[in-house]
Amino acid sequence: MTDPRRPTRRLVTTLFLALLLGGAVSAQRYTTAAEITAAMDAMPNPSTTVATLRMTITAASGHSLTRTMQIWTADEGRSQLIKFLEPADVRGSGFLSVEQASGESETMIYLPALGRVRRVAGGQEQDAFFGSDFSYEEISSLSGDFGDDFTTTLLEVQPGPVYVMEGTAAAGSTSSYDRIVYQVPEATLIPRRVEFYRAGELIKVLTISGTVTVGDYTLPSIIRMETVATGSFTTIDQSDFTLDGDIPADVFTERFLQR
């Protein structure tokens, strides 16, 4: 049996951390992939985030589903709460993920219609995030931080300047992809397009088409992930940011989840 407490759900946290990466970046030119990666890693992260997310999943046939959620994150994404606001039939449902001292995450969901909090078993890195086109793995790459899974090289520098980077799966990589190609504008250091390849075939395309500046942070506001084979895509539109604010500790509890 799969360990229900496995930390995969942390990637949900990583998503929103990634989305919040940003900062005032002055124009400068990098010459190597290592410099660009280091610059991206050096971008400041807000200590806490409260935001509203509007996620629209659209099938190739055109049928779509939009859900609006409020998200709270703290402890560099180690604590995260999502509350569903819309549609009405899921309003009040919540999702809580808290990383324990052991490094494992405890994930639970509250469904008002079922009347109790349930712990949720972990899925796979490749599992779809809430039935969307995003997998947990892809969400973690939104910041351009591909961890130890990929060895990055600078392919070219486009006008802007925009750095076109290539990541190839490193030895021992756990990623389901063997190659990624992403474009990073120097102005934001937030990837604006990421292509995910498997066995030479383009599987998915991620596009960040809008950014917003809140205080010292430049944040992606419109993010789209398309699954090439099926033609489905998911758009995340985030707004109403409150960054570095005080979030009471009891927000990340089972009691608040049920409130």
């Binding site: 008002p112 219609a113 079922l114």
Partner: protein
Amino acid sequence: MTKADRRRDWLIIAAFALVSIGLGLGALRLKLDASVAAMLPDSSTVAELQREVSDVFGADGIMVALVEGDIYTPRAVGALRQLSSALAKIPGVTAVTSAGNAQRMLDDDGFLVIEDLLPATPTAADLAAARDYLETSPLYRGGLLVALDGKAANVVMEVSGDVDSSALSSAIRMTLDRDWQGEGLGAVHLVGGPLIDGEMRATLAREMPLLGGVAALLILVMLYLNFRTVRGALLPLMTVLVGLLWSLGVMGWLGAELSTLSVIAPVAILAVGSSFSLHLLGRFFQELSHGKDKHQAIATARKETGLGVLISGLAIAAALSTFSLSGMPTVRALGLLTAGGVLGTLIAALVLLPAVLGLLRAPRRVVDPEQPGMIAGFLEAVARFADRRRYAILGAAGVLLALAVVGTTRIVPNTAVIDYFNANSPLRKDYAVVEDAFGGSSQVQVLVTGDLSEPATLQSMLAFQERVATIEGVGPTTSIATVLRAIHYTLTGVDGLPTTREEIAQELLLYQLSGDPKQVSQYLTLDSQLGLVDIATKSESTAIMRSIVNDIEAAGAATLGQHATLGYTGSTLLQLDIEDSLMHDFVISLSLAIVLVVIIDSFVRSFRAALVTILALLLTIALQYGVLGFLGIPLDLSTMLLGALAIGVGDYAIHLTVRYMEERRSGRQPEAAMNQALHSSGRSILFTALTLGAGFLAMVFSQFVPVRTLGSLMAFTVLSVGTASLTLLPAACLVFLRNPRGSAPAPAVRGTN
């Protein structure tokens, strides 16, 4: 022969050679589409709905593999996992479901666990738990994935319609052989639409040249027996070769595709086309035997017999071209191919054949059809019989017609694709095994439009499925209600559906967090406004399938139809749609063929003569369908085309009428004119019947049941037309056509019987 005549003949031959090469190159561009989809009518609402289902819910079709063996063992489970994984990687396979990759949901002390049903190396306890889950879960119970006795497992593959069906079937079969049968675990049985498409294509590619070759050989033998010369046997085939090249070439250049029915075309063109030359050569040899020189013999043959050949050829082409009005591409292709081939052969017989004969030296020895001998004696007896027993013959024909009508009322249509194959073929055997275990390999798909987040709608969906499951011939049914029932059972222990909109939405949300979203998206759209109910049905005859579909629709109207709009499609309904379209084509083409043949035959300068001639044809067509009814042969893809085909093919009877009218114009009295006509044209008619019959008989070597049936029935038909032409037609002429236009006045009918 003058130098100018010789030059003209060489020019004609050169022109034919050039055109044949030019058009013939187009034949190399011909494509083959032997899929069931190629048979679908253009404006099929069922096919349109099928495309919508495919676009919205993904899968184009399913294939099911049944693997035999002791499934609940670690070795078999390991192999099943490996097999499912390997099958999923085959291009064109969009999803695989088996016990090897199925998941189960567990409410494990507050945790919603969704995990593999069977681990890679299961313990005895794992196997027992998996068996218990498969037998009790609403998703899988009833032996859906593993037979209740544990001796077989089903592997269900969703496949795309965009890939080459032969390549897909081969890759799947190779994987099954390698990962299961090759491991010594047991036998495998594979069924599904792409497999049938692949089999049909392979059979078609094999049989088109084979049947054509056999038909050509049989026709050669008959022609040689008739003329007793090599040129008499080869020249008709030369004209047919020209017609075939032109017809196939034009289709190739037009980008048309050959389909399952196209297998009939070469045989039909060979048989029909060779009869044109047979009549012309018969007259040519007859004139030679009567002392005319070569050029006079050619001129007489072209002038006198050419009229009958031209009319008969045009009538045949017109009758066959009625297929091109069909709404089905496959029938249209057959119509274009055969009508084009017949026209090409006709032109070659009337233009090329005289040119070749003009250049060849006159044969030293020719057969005079009127010289005394066995055949002449037989024709003499026939003429005497027709003269003396004319009313008895007409009466007997009336009785046969009445019997045929009775037989026609007993015909049962059946166009089920599976019945194209022999009952003892490996494919049919595999279908029997898989359908017995899985409950069905055909599909009825119900597209549900309505508010599917409403509990009452989902409850009625479940009620619909439960009612449908009681229908004989129906296998497992699945829908979003099935999936939700399994989730609800896991979460609450209640074997039923959630009762509020919130419960429905939130249970699906919970499932999306842990399970495979495809499990939901293959039955429900994101906005919950469209749903799909998959119903497996057995691949029975279309009559039984129609009854099953009617029962399903009645169940739908009484349950789910009260809450939502239902649209029905799927492979089962597509087959019924093909049948309905064929029935429509059958009536249209047969009626139109009769009208066209009467009109064209009336070009012999007498509408009455045309009507009398077609009398013989109509009787034989009625007999054809009467035989179908009495022998229990179904009206299928091929036999539906039989009528119009027979009208065209059988129109060689016109040659007797033409000759009879020729004799009447020369001043002979009706009885003497008919006697003379039978003596001179009778031999050609006899050998035309034998040649056509032999040609169509080649089809009995086909692996396709309908093609075989068509071959036997066409052989029966042309022999019947031959018999009717030598008995009924003379009798009818002597009673109803005593004074055709331009003939000498006849005395009053003398009744000798």
